[in-house]
Amino acid sequence: MRLLLGSFLAFAAAAFIGLGTTWLALNDGVAYGGITIGAWTAWPKNGTPGIDPYARAMVARSGELPVGSGDGVTFFARTDDDAHPFDGRCDVAVSGTTPQARFWTLTLYDPEGKLVANSAQRHGFTSQEVIRNADGTFDITVGPRARPGNWLPTGGVDRYVLALRLYDTPVGLATRSGRDTPMPTVAQKGCP
């Protein structure tokens, strides 16, 4: 009887701890080898055969295809530079320059990776179409209401994710944050 009770306890603990930690690890995005620059984080290793088992499990679960390392690298931002989570009802300014790349695209997704419906039917910018300042920098306003200049609509959603993809870029596995990788700043402007 004791044996039965004991083994039952052990198996219950094993299932709870094992599955619980797996669930936590995959939901909170535990992945190794990330490069964080300001609000942006990229996992260049996810585009190589050296992708770590946690990232591999996350990719399998979400159904996305990571950008291959010979193609480019994806930086994600879920918060502004001061670590405030993005709120689709607020205005956020994304401005500055990007690291060296032949092309880049900035895209807004909901947390599940879907595009967000909006009246302007705009889901992002490419490096070709963004309007730049005289010194080559750009200012993009991410917000619910139309703005002059580069306006990326949030559609008023609660939470969103920004993805900055650099294509044909030297940024990759060996990159550290620093002068060679000037990522755009992300600042919350105003909240109703």
Partner: protein
């Protein structure tokens, strides 16, 4: 009491094993991964366009809407594959993924260095059977080795502005992936 603690300890240790096992096995069990999502859309060894993502519908999450995309779901069991795609004015890339959605190779138009990206895709075994003395070993033939028999070739062409998307999509219709005649 000590016995109780020992059972609990063994449970915790076993929990660690369960954690590692589930993380490692999950990719094999997943039925919503990119390969499985694309399976119903894509016949084997044929280039098929993937519809541009929209808020209502997307083949996969986190697709870049600035790109036209086409996929060749390959199977090398019978024969190696010949792949080619003309490059666009903006940016064209070809990425290779295993059955488990791991990117193992990617090339872009600049790296290819000409108007057409052309390459042969084969398994390591098929590669070793390629006769070396023939002229095919010449540098102009790019050979890519696939670690798995099946997988995905993803071809992307950039539309620098939304109006250029049909042009990019049109370009990808010229992409070919054909099994080599034996």
């Amino acid at each position: 009491m000590i016995r109780f603690a020992l059972w609990l300890l063994s449970g915790i240790l076993l929990g660690g094993v369960v954690h590692l096992a589930t993380v490692l096995l999950l990719p094999r069990m997943a039925n919503q991964d990119a390969y499985s999502r694309l399976m119903p859309l894509t016949p084997v060894n044929k280039v098929v366009p993937v519809p541009a993502p929209s808020p209502e519908k997307a083949a996969m999450p986190f697709m870049d809407p600035a790109f036209a995309m086409a996929v060749c779901r390959y199977d090398l069991t019978k024969a190696p594959l010949k792949f080619s795609v003309p490059i666009s004015q903006a940016y064209t890339s070809v990425s290779f993924y295993t059955r488990a959605d791991t990117a193992y190779y990617a090339i872009n138009d600049r790296a290819a260095g000409r108007r057409v990206i052309e390459l042969d895709l084969m398994t390591a075994e098929q590669h070793s059977e390629v006769p070396e003395n023939e002229e095919i070993t010449a540098a102009d033939r790019l050979i890519v080795e696939s670690p798995t028999n099946t997988g995905l070739i993803v071809i992307k062409a950039l539309a620098a502005e939304p109006g250029l998307l049909p042009l990019a999509q049109n370009l990808l219709t010229a992409a070919r992936c054909l099994p080599q005649a034996q």
